[in-house]
Every structure is written in structure tokens, then in C-alpha cells.
């Protein structure tokens, strides 16, 4: 039996800055994961991934990451993705600076 599809977000790093961004429903790349489009359907996920990959002048390394619905929007389910929403743990650099 095929594995059950788990919800996804489309994520990447920005070409110029290199920081992590997430694809929103209205086709923006947001530095805030909570603004991302949470995709519940596998076919839609593939479609949105291709849409993300078609913007190589804006983002690099586009992929689908597991996510879950939270009170403020999509949240990471894996610690690697959680780090990408914050920044490193040794200095308050990256996204946690402005959060």
C-alpha cells in the first residue's frame, strides 16, 4: 500500500541572500514559515514544487518539507526544518534576530 501523504510546504534558499524561504499560497517567497501554503494533497504538492523550481533567478534548492498545521500557520515537524525557521543555536543570528 502506498504510504499515506503527510502535509508539505515548499521551501528553498534565496539566491541572493541564501536565507530560508517558504512558498505562500499567493506565490510569494516568505522568510516566515507560518505564512507558507500547507499542502495536503500529493498532486498539488508536486505541482507547487515545480512552480517553485521554475524560479531559479529567485531561489535555489527547492524541495518539499514535512509540516503540520499550527495555530499561526504551518510548523516544522523535523528538527532540521525547525532550525531553518530560527537560525543557529550558538548565536542569535538569522531569523531569530528579527523574530
Amino acid at each position: 500500500m502506498p504510504r499515506k501523504f503527510t502535509p508539505k510546504v515548499v521551501t528553498a534558499n534565496r539566491l541572493m541572500e541564501g536565507d530560508a524561504v517558504w512558498l505562500t499560497e499567493d506565490d510569494r517567497w516568505s522568510p516566515d514559515m507560518a505564512e507558507a501554503e500547507l499542502i495536503e494533497d500529493e498532486a498539488v504538492a508536486q505541482d507547487r514544487l515545480i512552480h517553485g523550481q521554475s524560479q531559479p533567478d529567485v531561489v535555489v534548492g527547492v524541495y518539499l518539507a514535512d509540516a503540520k498545521a499550527g495555530p499561526d500557520g504551518p510548523e516544522p515537524t523535523h528538527f532540521r526544518e525547525a532550525f531553518r525557521t530560527r537560525g543557529p543555536s550558538n548565536y542569535a543570528h538569522g531569523k531569530q534576530e528579527t523574530a
Binding site: 534558499n13 536565507d19 531559479p56 534548492g61 528538527f79 531553518r84
Partner: protein, 557 residues
């Protein structure tokens, strides 16, 4: 120190200009990311978790005050005011922007530095003993050979697309401070019948399949260095597995082919190549060697040093741990610890870099080194100046007296930065160091090398740590495996796994149990952790790490 000639200068400038154009073409869309990626990697530019990362080579770990200042300037101008010194004598900047990279590379070229071949499947930065030229126990300074190898390997047309990356390390002393046995080629300067040459090892490496290098040639005459290395890399270039990334390093080639057959092939290829080296390389070596002549040392009386050593216990403790005997009795080698407990191993702020540069300029004949253990070395310091140096380091937060002790931990960037990492390493290092600082056990424990990697690629050298820690992702949770008994010295050994791994919040207590067990079971206070481990083996440490396991087994039986 080596100074660029016109050729070096033109070459590095041309590469910067090429990369500037490549970045422009990437930004305007004429290069795709697939086309651009190999180009940026050739120039040391990675894309990591939160930002780009630029890895700059510090050839054989040697750097001048002016170069150190420029690194500080780069950190302040285009990064976040600090740099991270790595286990391969490089420095990494963690936050540069793509558009700024060509300017950074130009700033590096202004001080004869570059980021060429710090990534990709090429011959990487050639590393050397960080005490080179200053150590009492060395036969000769390994750096002229390392520089010769750097010139030979840079843009070597045959070796730009090797099966996998290739790392060379050189030492001039029998006591191995350069981990040559964990390198693709390890070179040890030796003498035989009054003639100078090399003991040549190949096939060492850590990573997924750790291997200790094996001797290819017991004695290689000095003049044969380049053709012999070329023969080794050339044999590897043909035999190396390009079908499987995990089997592509020369360690696997040596392992699968057998050292005897490798030796036969290398000698055969060497016989072909040797006539092509007509002596120009030896003329170049002679020119390089002249540039590495030792400074004209000032003879200095020792009374101020002796007085401070007698009077000031903090100074004395620092001298006892961080200062090593120099080839001259009135000088010393100072290891500046970048491991203040609680700080990130290997990180220096731009202000600290400025202080180090100023000290090197004022007292240290303008020389600094970066060690693979992620510390900074002032290799030639008159003992008379040690009290002033210590005072300045204290003010800069650089006076931690912990070289070679429990808190002098090697750690890779791990998942705080690295896109390949499977777990964090930096906070584990910070917490171990802080914990043992609280326990005040560092001197009781004595010499100890803890090394932490945040993934199987082993940038943190965990396999050769007396205690090695490997961070993994186990079902979506950070999990840390412990190995014991590893050794990166001339008695190189790969550590053995203790058993199941530990969760993030269990790893520091686990290390504490190991070290408290060691203190309890060692025969004398002088028996080091590694000696105790070699005497008693794994069992007492296993019992301390996994209490209850014996009972379970007894119960099952």
C-alpha cells in the same frame, strides 16, 4: 613566510575576475544553478542551512598579522563580525551574500589569500604541523614542501575532477600533530643515511568508512616528492570508484585493491613520470625554502618570565597548559585557545583577530598559525614577553588555560550551519566544556581529546578522538553515538563504539559518567584516559554508560 610571485598574483586575480563574471551571469539568469554550482564550489562557496558559506584556505595553517587583520576586516565588512577556524586549517565565513563574494575574494587577493580548491573533488588545502618551524622535535620545517605541493596541485589540469576530494598533510616530526594517518596522502619527513626524504602513507581517511593510512614507501628521496605524489593521485584518478560516492575516496581504492598492488601501480607510474621532472621543481623548492627561513631571533633574558611564573598562579597555569617548548630555550610556542568554555570551538571575533594580529606583530615576528584543533598558535614568542601576551589575551577573552584538556574540544559546525549535518555539534561541545568547568575536573582528568562530528562525514574527526561523539538523526530526533580509544597521533587508532547512542539531553551526563569512571579506575594520577582505556578496554565504561544492561542480560539467562 611565502610571498606571492607575479604568477601567483596574476593567477589569483584572474580567478577572482572570472568568478565575478560568473556571479553576474548567475544573477542575470544566463547561468542556471546546475551550471553555477560547480563554479562556486571551485571557489569555496557553499550554500548552507541559513546562508552562503565561504571557506578560505590558510595554506598549511600559516598566516601573517596583515592577513589576520584582513580576515577581521572581511568579517566586519561582509559578514557578522566573526570567523570559524576549521579542522583543516581553513576559515569559514557563515553569512556572506552572493553579490559580495567577488569583493571578498578581491580583499583576500590583496593579502595573498584565496578560496581556490577549498571544495570540490580536487586536491584541497595542504595542511601541516601547526608547530612547524618552531617545534623542538622536528627534523625539518614541513611548510616548504607543503607550499611546493600547493603550487603543484593548484589548478593541476589532470586533478580537477578526481573521483572525490583529496587531502594531503605533512609533518616534520615523528610525533604527529597533523593527523597524517587520517589523510589521503600523509607525508612524514625522515632521514636515512644522512639523506632527507619522506615516509609516504596513503589511504587514510575518516568519514563513513574510517581507515588508517598505510605506508606506500618507507623512504622517498626529497627530490622525488612531486612525481611520487603525482603517481599516487594519478593511480587513484583511474582506479577510484566513480560509480558510488560513498566508495570514491582513495581509502576505499587502497582497501579494495590492496596496498601491495597499489604500491606496484604507483611505482610503475612513478617510473614513467619521474623523467618529466627535470629539476625545475627542486629549483622552485629552493626558492620557497629561502622564504621560510626562521626569523632572526632576539636573545632575551628570562628573569621577567621567571618572576611572573613564580608570582602569578593564573599566569603559571596558563603557561603550564598553553605554552610549549620552542626550538630556542628563550622562546616559546603559545597556543591561544579558541575554546573558552561556553564559546563556540574555533570561532574568533574580528576584535580577537585584531588582538592576535597585533600580538604577532609586536612580539611574534609577524607569524600566526591555525591548528587543526581549531586554536591559534603564536609560534615564536620570546619568553620574556609571555606575561604581556597573557595580559592582552585575558583582556580579549582568549586566555583560557585548557589546551589539550577536556574543554579543548574539536567540533564541526554541525546542524547549526551545515546543510549535510544530521545533528548539532556546537552546543554539545559548549555544554560539555561548561559542565566540566563547573565540576573543576579538567586538571584532575588531564590530557584528553574529545572530538565531535554532526554527521558521518566526520569533519570533527570523532573517530580519532579519545572520546568521539557522532551526532545522528534517529527517527527525527538527534542522537549521539560515543566512540572510545581513538587516536590521531603517530599511534593512530579508530575509536570503538560503546553501544546505543544517547539523546541530546543525555549526552553530557554520559560523557560525565565515562570520565568519572576513568578517574576512579586509573592506576595512577599520571595514567591518561587513553592509557586507561587501552589497559582496561571498553567494559568498565560500558557498565557506567548502560547501567542495568548486565542485570537484564543476567535476568534473560
Amino acid at each position: 613566510m611565502y610571498t606571492y610571485n607575479d604568477f601567483d598574483e596574476a593567477f589569483v586575480r584572474e580567478r577572482v575576475a572570472q568568478f565575478r563574471a560568473q556571479v553576474e551571469r548567475r544573477i542575470d539568469g544566463s547561468l542556471t544553478e546546475d551550471e553555477f554550482k560547480p563554479l562556486r564550489l571551485m571557489n569555496g562557496l557553499y550554500l548552507q542551512l541559513h546562508a552562503y558559506m565561504l571557506r578560505v584556505a590558510i595554506p598549511y595553517g600559516t598566516i601573517s598579522a596583515r592577513q589576520m587583520r584582513q580576515l577581521a576586516h572581511i568579517a566586519d565588512t561582509w559578514d557578522r563580525g566573526y570567523g570559524h577556524f576549521t579542522t583543516r586549517q581553513n576559515i569559514q565565513f557563515n553569512w556572506p551574500k552572493l553579490r559580495d563574494i567577488p569583493d571578498i575574494l578581491d580583499a583576500l587577493a590583496d593579502v595573498e589569500m584565496h578560496a581556490i580548491q577549498t571544495s570540490g573533488n580536487t586536491i584541497r588545502n595542504v595542511t601541516a604541523d601547526h608547530f612547524a618551524g618552531a617545534a623542538k622535535d622536528e627534523i625539518a620545517d614541513p611548510r616548504p614542501y607543503a607550499e611546493l605541493l600547493r603550487q603543484w596541485s593548484t589548478d593541476h589540469a589532470e586533478f580537477q575532477f578526481l573521483p572525490r576530494k583529496f587531502k594531503i598533510a605533512v609533518t616534520g616530526a615523528a610525533h604527529d600533530r597533523a593527523v597524517i594517518r587520517a589523510h589521503d596522502i600523509g607525508l612524514q619527513i625522515v632521514e636515512q643515511g644522512g639523506e632527507r626524504g619522506f615516509r609516504v602513507l596513503a589511504g587514510g581517511g575518516l568519514g563513513r568508512t574510517p581507515m588508517i593510512g598505510q605506508v606506500v614507501r618507507e623512504f622517498l628521496p626529497e627530490a622525488d616528492l612531486l612525481p611520487y605524489c603525482e603517481a599516487i593521485v594519478s593511480v587513484y584518478n583511474l582506479l577510484g570508484r566513480r560509480d558510488n560516492k560513498f566508495k570514491a575516496r582513495i581509502k576505499i581504492t587502497v582497501h579494495e585493491t590492496g596496498i601491495d598492488e597499489i604500491r606496484r601501480l604507483v611505482e610503475e607510474r612513478f617510473a614513467e613520470l619521474r623523467p618529466a621532472f627535470t629539476g625545475v621543481d627542486q629549483q622552485i623548492l629552493a626558492g620557497i625554502r629561502a622564504q621560510f627561513a626562521l626569523p632572526e631571533f632576539d636573545a632575551r633574558p628570562l628573569d621577567t618570565f621567571d618572576a611572573a611564573y613564580g608570582d602569578d598562579p593564573v599566569f603559571r597555569a596558563w603557561v603550564d597548559t598553553n605554552v610549549t617548548d620552542h626550538v630556542r630555550d628563550d622562546h616559546a610556542i603559545v597556543s591561544v585557545s579558541l575554546k573558552t568554555p561556553g564559546e563556540t570551538p574555533g570561532d574568533a571575533t574580528s576584535a580577537q583577530m585584531e588582538v592576535l594580529a597585533a600580538l604577532a606583530e609586536a612580539y611574534g615576528y609577524d607569524e600566526l598559525r591555525i591548528s587543526h584543533e581549531q586554536n591559534v598558535i603564536l609560534p615564536h614568542i620570546p619568553r620574556a614577553h609571555l606575561p604581556e601576551i597573557h595580559r592582552a589575551l585575558k583582556e580579549a577573552g582568549l586566555a583560557a588555560a585548557n589546551i589539550g584538556l577536556v574543554s579543548d574540544i574539536i567540533a564541526c559546525p554541525g546542524m547549526d550551519y551545515c546543510a549535510l549535518a544530521t545533528a548539532r555539534s556546537i552546543p554539545v561541545a559548549q555544554e560539555i566544556a561548561t559542565r566540566f568547568e563547573e565540576l573543576k575536573m579538567a586538571h584532575e582528568i588531564g590530557p584528553l581529546k574529545i572530538k565531535i562530528s554532526g554527521c558521518i562525514n566526520a569533519c570533527g574527526h570523532h573517530h580519532v578522538g579519545h572520546i568521539g561523539i557522532l551526532g545522528l538523526d534517529r527517527a527525527g530526533v538527534e542522537n549521539y553515538q560515543i566512540t572510545l580509544g581513538g587516536d590521531g597521533s603517530e599511534d593512530a587508532a579508530i575509536g570503538a563504539r560503546t553501544g546505543p547512542g544517547f539523546a541530546y539531553d543525555e549526552i553530557v551526563p554520559a560523557i560525565e559518567r565515562i570520565l568519572k569512571t576513568y578517574v576512579k579506575i586509573r592506576e595512577t594520577e599520571d595514567e591518561t584516559f587513553l592509557q586507561t582505556y587501552r589497559r582496561v578496554g571498553m567494559d568498565p565504561f560500558k557498565a557506567a554508560l548502560y547501567p542495568g544492561k548486565d542485570k537484564e542480560r543476567a535476568h534473560a539467562a
